[in-house]
């Protein structure tokens, strides 16, 4: 059987093989709706089979092999590739993962085809060549669109960052001018000084988040320096600070089991603080935010943060941990780069753990971080060694 006929006939089998590969090899695919992953790959595959059936002269074939595809001939696989690239960028895939999907698709098709013992004559070899060319075209189109989409998101982010920095900077400059004038008038202005300090702190916190984002985006993940830590102490400290900053809100803390573990104390504190702040920000303001740490299992520590309020839609839940995603009512809470939950997930992953979210009308929204009890092997920090962490 010819390869294009084989693809059409065995589509279901090829997709099953591809899915198995994708789930195993692609971390970002784990967060992705399986149906979405499969549908886009199937579109690429169908388009390629269609391309392969177009008649092709020797001259065209030679041109294509050099990367000069004639327009009509490659439109299908290119269009499928473009869509694929843009979607993968939006879903938080990196460029390697996006390209790896094509490798998986190509390997699945060829392996299953060879297994079916095709008669390998001149026509079959040419078909194989055409298949590879169509794959390459779809891949090239996908990567081009991936890069364009990634650049668009980066620009959007820089716009938000600049905007978020400008308001506290405005406070610092205006109150600073007042303080200069006040000094000349021999006037004490403690409130202006406090506003300058708060504005500066706000700018610092935005820049710290930005640094985490940039570092983790370099492909190595976030770096952590694990030491022996009492999670009970860490949680009490974080919850205590947040209670002091939000006197009108209730933050409950529930601890169970053995809470001594090996992790990066500051990073874990940051993750828990981000989750509780998130719960205070987006949860129903009349309801408590409940922090639970559970060390009753031998191998792991589970931290969950629950808040009440309307449930988060499935589609929104899938992208919550992606950078630059902000909750629906984010605008009503001022500063927000959309990095808080992204940083939470990066911290969990760097410890060899996971971060997940569940949400329904009854239980509200629950964010859960699962950490191995001993994360000392997780990912030793090069920055710590250089005292740069």
């Amino acid at each position: 059987m010819g390869l294009s006929d084989f693809i059409t006939l065995e589509e279901a089998k090829i997709m099953a093989e591809f899915e198995a590969f994708a789930k195993e090899q692609l971390p970002a695919a784990a967060d992705m709706n399986v149906a979405a992953l499969r549908d886009h790959a199937r579109q690429v595959l169908v388009a390629i089979a269609l391309d392969m059936r177009q008649p092709q002269t020797d001259q065209e074939q030679h041109a294509k092999s050099l990367g000069h595809a004639s327009k009509a001939d490659s439109e299908e696989s290119k269009a499928a590739g473009e869509l694929h690239g843009a979607l993968r960028a939006a879903a938080g895939f990196d460029v390697n993962q996006t390209a790896a999907e094509y490798r998986a698709l190509r390997a699945s098709v060829i392996r299953l085809w060879i297994e079916s013992n095709p008669q390998l004559g001149r026509d079959e070899v040419f078909e194989l060549v055409r298949f590879n060319e169509s794959m390459d075209e779809a891949l090239a189109a996908s990567l081009l669109y991936f890069a364009a989409e990634a650049a668009r998101m980066r620009n959007l982010f820089l716009g938000v960052l600049s905007h978020e920095l400008r308001t506290p900077l405005s406070t610092v400059m205006t109150s600073g001018h007042s303080l200069v004038l006040g000094a000349r008038l021999k006037k004490d202005m403690p409130e202006a000084a406090e506003r300058v300090v708060r504005g500066g702190r706000r700018i610092q916190s935005l820049l710290d988040d930005l640094l985490d984002y940039v570092r983790s985006g370099l492909g190595e993940g976030m770096r952590v320096s694990p030491t022996s830590v009492d999670m009970s102490q860490v949680c009490s400290r974080i919850v205590g600070e947040l209670r002091a900053n939000h006197p009108t809100r209730t933050i409950a803390l529930d601890e169970r089991g053995d809470l001594i573990c090996v992790c990066d104390e500051e990073r874990i504190a940051q993750a828990i603080s981000n989750l509780v702040s998130n719960g205070l920000k987006y949860g129903a303001s009349g309801e408590p935010v409940s922090v639970r740490i559970d060390g009753s299992a031998a191998a792991e520590i589970v931290v969950s943060v629950q808040n009440g309020g309307p449930p988060i839609a499935q589609a929104t839940r899938e992208s919550l941990f992606e950078p630059l995603v902000r909750g629906e009512n984010a605008a009503s809470h001022g500063y927000n780069l959309g990095l808080g939950l992204y940083i939470v997930r990066e911290i969990a992953l760097a410890h060899g753990g996971t971060a997940t979210v569940e949400s329904d009308a009854e239980a509200g929204t629950v964010f859960t971080i699962r950490l191995p009890r001993d994360a000392s092997e997780a990912s030793p920090s090069a920055f710590a060694g250089l005292r740069m962490n």
Partner: protein
Amino acid sequence: MELNAHQSPRRLLVVDDDHDLVDSLCEWVGLSSDWMAVAAYGPADAIAQATALPPDAILMDMEMHGADGFDTAEQLGRASGDKHSAIFALTGNADLREAASQDPRFLASLLKPADPNKLLRLLTRLTADH
């Protein structure tokens, strides 16, 4: 032209959902000019204050929760009634600043962080023109 000594001071309504920025701007204007600055910590607050006592000028953030600056300007214009308040746009977003500078409802548009002295010059010019 000198302001009549018997006249009450000119009022500037400062509108932003960032409290610290509103307080900073009000303090600066009170300290360095003869204008009286009034704080409004959001669009609803601004409309209530402008309805109660229409200000001479409004300095307004263009991105607040619940309303954008253009809609709020429209409503503030109506709230001030016959008294035409001069509206200055203040924003951290360069695109919105551009849009406001093309909009006849705004007398001027400033990009955060606005130079406090430039704000004073705008207020001084407004006093001189009237």
